[in-house]
Symmetry: C2
Subunit: 236 residues, 2 copies
DNA sequence: TCGTCGGGCGAACACCGTTCGTTGCTCGAA
DNA sequence: TTCGAGCAACGAACGGTGTTCGCCCGACGA
């Protein structure tokens, strides 16, 4: 069966002012979906669909979904600005970087679910690690302490954002707004804590308000403060 | 079409010395699969299959998979022994509890992927929280500090085990033994770090050995030590 | 003895990541 | 200019996932 040539009076199929498929385009679209609807909405099929093609086409530019997510993470972490070490400020700059990571990651919802899986090895992640390490060394921490502290601080920031992203995903999935979600989930939880027998759970019962209070930001700050105070004790 | 009565000379279908389906049985089987093959192998279909039934049958005893995983987590966390507060030991008991959690969770592979998603509210998890809170209060921490420190320490232990479980899952998925995995994954990574231009990444280049050394246990201990030292500064 | 209630469960739904094999375009060599 | 090779694009399918629908049937209360 010969293909019939296109009649000259029909313009060629113009469904394609679209850029040709490329890795950047895929990453960009994936990040867009992630920002708009969360990680669960990011599927190969969905990205392909938004690009006007089928899922198989993506695999020419990306090895698999895991690699794609790593590329998206690299893009996001690249937004974190890394200051040069100012030795006289000691570990204060660490607090600054941690907050920047926190904010950038929060801005891109649940991308934080990705990097815990594997040691980041993209150039942007390396630049960030280099900056943090340099600050700690300049502040007078022994090399082995600085190296492990880098690992622990990285884990702390990622895990906090990760936890927050799971909370946000639940909120999104529930379809309710924040206050309705709070009323329906946290209120019963608080009531449950209040209903606990005081003799079995004296510490919890006596401190429910302290346990329930505090936003995500406040808790992050508190944990960061503990970490920095503890790290301070290792300075020579 | 009438059902033909069973001929009396055939014993009734004896594929069923099995206990009737129950929530405990489902949880038990799920935990068994999790221990043997990891979280990824735990699916509703797989549990049902091992119980000799179909996936739909499970939903009479368990609301959904999320609830099932929470029940499994409850079972595991129940293995952690909680000591009574000994005020003269200060925060030392916290170190002990953290290690117990660490060991119990590690013993059950990647169950740690579950609890980060939601505030634990089962009786066993509550008992653990009560114990940790009581110790911190007895050690002289202000209530608000103790409450948030409970949250942060819990997050630290869970996130460390979680990270470890992802590593273990990768190892398992690769099908290789630990040393082969190390050679094929970590060695190239080390080589990559070594190949970095020293002028762009001076801190990393000069400290590769410090960065690569240290087992999971050593890193966990180091982070725990930082946390406890930092928390110590809040004692009145 | 009859009726109803509820666990058990086969089948199906709507997804998922990934692979296979074909199509058809582009570009360099002859 | 023509041919051929290589490769991006992609339709279709594979083997999985969690969950729901609706029927069957046995036990138990009236």
């Amino acid at each position: 069966m010969e293909a019939v040539p296109l009649p000259p009076w029909r313009t060629p199929p113009k469904h394609a002012p679209r850029r040709p498929l490329s890795q950047e385009l895929i990453v960009e679209k994936g990040l867009g979906i992630l920002d708009a609807e969360g990680l669960d909405a990011v599927s190969m099929r969905r990205i392909a669909q938004e690009l006007g093609t089928g899922p198989a086409s993506l695999y020419a530019h990306v090895a698999n979904k895991e690699e794609l997510l790593e590329l998206i993470f690299e893009q996001v972490i690249g937004e974190v600005e890394v200051p040069a070490p100012e030795p006289e400020r000691g570990l204060d700059q660490l607090r600054e970087i941690a907050w920047r990571m926190y904010r950038v990651l929060h801005a891109h919802a649940d991308i934080a679910r990705v990097p815990m899986a594997n040691i980041p090895r993209g150039p942007n992640a390396l630049r960030l690690a280099e900056g943090m390490l340099a600050i700690m060394l300049a502040a007078g921490l022994p090399p082995q302490v600085a190296a492990w502290a880098l690992d622990r601080l990285y884990l702390y920031v990622m895990s906090d954002v990760y936890e927050g992203s799971l909370y946000a995903a639940k909120l999104r999935a529930s379809g309710k707004d924040q206050s309705a979600f709070f009323e329906e989930i946290l209120r019963p939880l608080q009531a449950y804590y209040l209903s606990l027998p005081g003799e079995s759970f004296p510490a919890i019962s006596a401190n429910i308000d302290s346990l329930m209070t505090g936003s995500g930001d406040e808790r992050f700050e508190f944990g960061l403060e503990i970490f920095l105070r503890g790290l301070e004790t290792y300075r020579s």
